[in-house]
């Protein structure tokens, strides 16, 4: 009886344990490249947003442009005659 148990332990349990552990290891290893890829993309995304503060400059420039446009439009409004009303 002990011989049977020893053989089962050696021939069945050990391979099953190795198989299961190997599955866990392969699963863990398959995650590593994905995480590293995500980290690279996140770093690139963060770097892409470095230019966001320039939006404040754009905002300021647009405010000045629209203000100049308003002044220019006001002058044109004075200089040019209005269109004749449609009859």
């Amino acid at each position: 009886m002990l011989w049977v148990a020893a053989i089962v332990l050696l021939a069945v349990v050990v391979p099953v344990v190795v198989y299961l552990l190997n599955g866990v290891l392969q699963a863990a290893r398959s995650i590593v490249p994905s995480v590293e890829g995500i980290a690279t993309v996140a770093a690139a995304g963060s770097k892409d947003l470095d230019a966001v503060p320039l939006l404040l400059t754009t905002k300021s420039q647009i405010e000045q442009t629209v203000a100049g446009l308003a002044n220019y439009g006001g002058s044109l409004d004075v200089i040019l005659d209005d269109a004749e009303p449609v009859r």
Binding site: L2, W3, A5, A6, I7, L9, L10, V13, V14, V17, V18, L21, N22, V24, L25, A28, R29, I31, V32, V35, E36, I38, A39, A42, A43, G45, S46, L49, D50, V52, L55, L56, T58, K59, I62, E63, T65, V66, L69, A70, G73, L76, D77, L80, D81, D82, A83, E84, V86
Partner: protein, 202 residues
């Protein structure tokens, strides 16, 4: 030790070795995953931090641009009238007349005249001079007439060629003085007393 005990011992030993090898390998892989996720979290935090004020700024920019559009549309309609305004828009951006003006919803139904036929070609040419927006690059057909870096030449190219493009370079003025590329020796007899006086007239 009996043979059965030796077989048991070998089996347990193999199981323990397998456990050690695979679990240590798994731990190493999990640590790499943890390090990668730490990097991801840090970068995502930066993304969130950097993009936080974007909405506010973009909304402000859109508000300013909307005000500019309303101003220009209002001025155009006031000065040119709705019909001619839509004709000018349609002439500059074919198809845009169907969308109408934003500030004048009823403008979409206005029948736009073919402004290029109603007015001289110069009207569209002058209007085209000011377009620099990429959206207008293909409409109306033809290259953008205004070159921001050579605006003067671009405007002059509209007229018959006289001196601005052919000949490209006219002969330059000669260089004189000590820096002249061609130097001549000074004649010594100039300014010196005459060697022989002219014969007296009898």
């Amino acid at each position: 030790m009996s043979a059965v005990g030796a077989v048991f011992l070998v089996a347990v030993l193999l199981i323990v070795l397998a456990l050690v090898f695979f679990l240590v390998s798994t731990i190493v892989a999990l640590r790499r995953i943890t390090a990668g996720l730490d990097t991801v979290i840090a970068n995502v935090g930066q993304i969130v931090e950097k993009s936080a004020p974007v909405n506010e700024v973009v909304d402000a920019i859109n508000g300013q641009l909307d005000a500019g559009v309303e101003l220009l549309e209002g001025l155009l309609v006031k000065k040119a009238g709705m019909t001619d305004a839509m004709g000018l828009v349609e002439g500059l951006y074919p198809g845009a007349g169907a969308a109408g003006l934003r500030a004048f919803p009823d403008s979409a139904g206005t029948k736009a005249p073919r402004i290029g036929e109603v007015y001289t070609k110069g009207t569209l040419t002058l209007a085209r001079l000011g377009r620099e927006a990429p959206i207008a690059a293909l409409s109306p057909t033809g290259a953008v007439l205004r070159d921001v870096e050579g605006g003067s030449l671009a405007a002059r190219m509209l007229y018959p060629s006289v001196r601005h493009d052919a000949p490209e370079r006219l002969p330059t003025s000669p260089v004189i003085g000590t820096g002249a590329p061609e130097q001549y020796e000074r004649r010594e007899d100039i300014g010196a007393p005459r060697k022989r006086l002219p014969a007296k007239s009898s």
